[in-house]
Symmetry: C2
Subunit: 205 residues, 2 copies
DNA sequence: ACCTGAACACCGTTCAAGT
DNA sequence: ACCTGAACACCGTTCAAGT
């Protein structure tokens, strides 16, 4: 049975969607390739490397073709679209945000390249290197944190809380959301706008 | 050997600092209490519950005494202090951010309470329920994402990159940081200020 | 009520040996 | 070059049986 790196990643990805991150196991991947677990170590250094490649595999289809800001494009619109695109990439697979955050900037090549593209796009719009970096890192941190929480499986505790409708502000917020048909996507956009607005202000000084 | 829930959490916390999150294992905790692994299940439902308690244990010393905004306090100063305090709680133990994010709002009672306190403090400063929620959730997502990345162990890849000082913008940023003695804390504050600035702007409309 | 002892069904990783 | 076979040192979880 000849196998290659790509097959391993593809199988791992499908396993991620079916069983979640904790279900992604070298032994299960090997089994689906009709191969013993030890055989994977010829194609992959260890499990962490597989996880890193998983992060890249999530990001690649969304960002290999992604263009930097064009001169006539306002930077805030471009950055907004880029962050929403990143969120979509994360949402494209179960626990995607966790996978990407787990790899981090140091490991996920795609993520480092994306950061490069953002900083460059902001600088061409008049940001200093530091301003561009801070805006970029703030936006990315926000996306990370937001989507990780968004993808966290609803627990028994949170369901119980929602059901019992206590007099907490959080349950009032949930209630208001239902009435006004607020979506999680709207929350995400609104938070992102806060950051973009802050960056605009900073830029004028 | 009589043991109790508190001891389990204390041991787990020390294990977290010594060996990191993946070193926190029911069997190791049990061994340090001179008890068989199965015995822990009398005090704890499963490993996840222990992890949730770990998140609370990280937050409690920082937030049980934490006060809501006082009338004479500007909301932005109070929120800034609160977010910096949260970051310090996360940094107080190895991989603290990951532990807290892993528990999430649904599991870490302390975190849900903190959110409650923030929303309430912002509303008393004139925010609508929705404005307060969005500002709170944006700030918290940012802190999450920032500190998770901050605490990610530097990898071989990132060290190699730093050493080879390629012509990437990211390495230029690292370089600039060293020259100007920028700290990670300054980066955190600057990003936070972006969000606070954006929230101020939003409030005026 | 609280723990032992032992099992069950898993993990990642290594490595001689095969082909 | 690439995989088998088998081992090693672990995991979380369950549960009868002890005290």
């Amino acid at each position: 049975m000849k196998i290659c790196r790509e097959q391993i990643i593809t199988i791992a990805l499908s396993l991620l969607d079916r069983e979640g991150l904790e279900g992604v196991t070298l032994r299960k991947v090997a089994a689906q390739l009709h191969v013993h677990a030890g055989a994977l170590y010829w194609h992959v250094q260890n499990k962490q490397e597989l996880l890193d490649e998983l992060a890249n595999a999530l990001l690649s289809p969304y960002f290999v073709q992604w263009e930097g800001r064009t001169p006539e494009q306002p930077w805030s619109k471009w950055l907004q679209a880029t962050c929403e695109h990143l969120r979509e990439a994360m949402l494209s697979h179960r626990e995607g945000a966790r996978v990407i955050a787990g790899a981090g900037l140091g490991r996920a090549v795609q993520l480092a390249q994306l950061m490069e593209l953002i900083v460059q796009s902001l600088m061409s719009a008049g940001f200093s290197l530091r301003q561009a970096f801070l805006t970029c890192s703030t936006a990315l941190s926000y996306v990370y944190g937001f989507v990780i929480e968004e993808q966290a499986a609803p627990t028994n505790a949170s369901i119980k809380q929602a059901r019992s409708s206590e007099e907490t502000l959080i349950s009032k917020i949930q209630h208001e959301k239902r009435i006004h048909h607020y979506t999680t996507e709207m929350d995400f956009r609104a938070g992102l706008e806060l950051i973009l607005e802050g960056a605009k202000q900073q830029l004028q000084k």
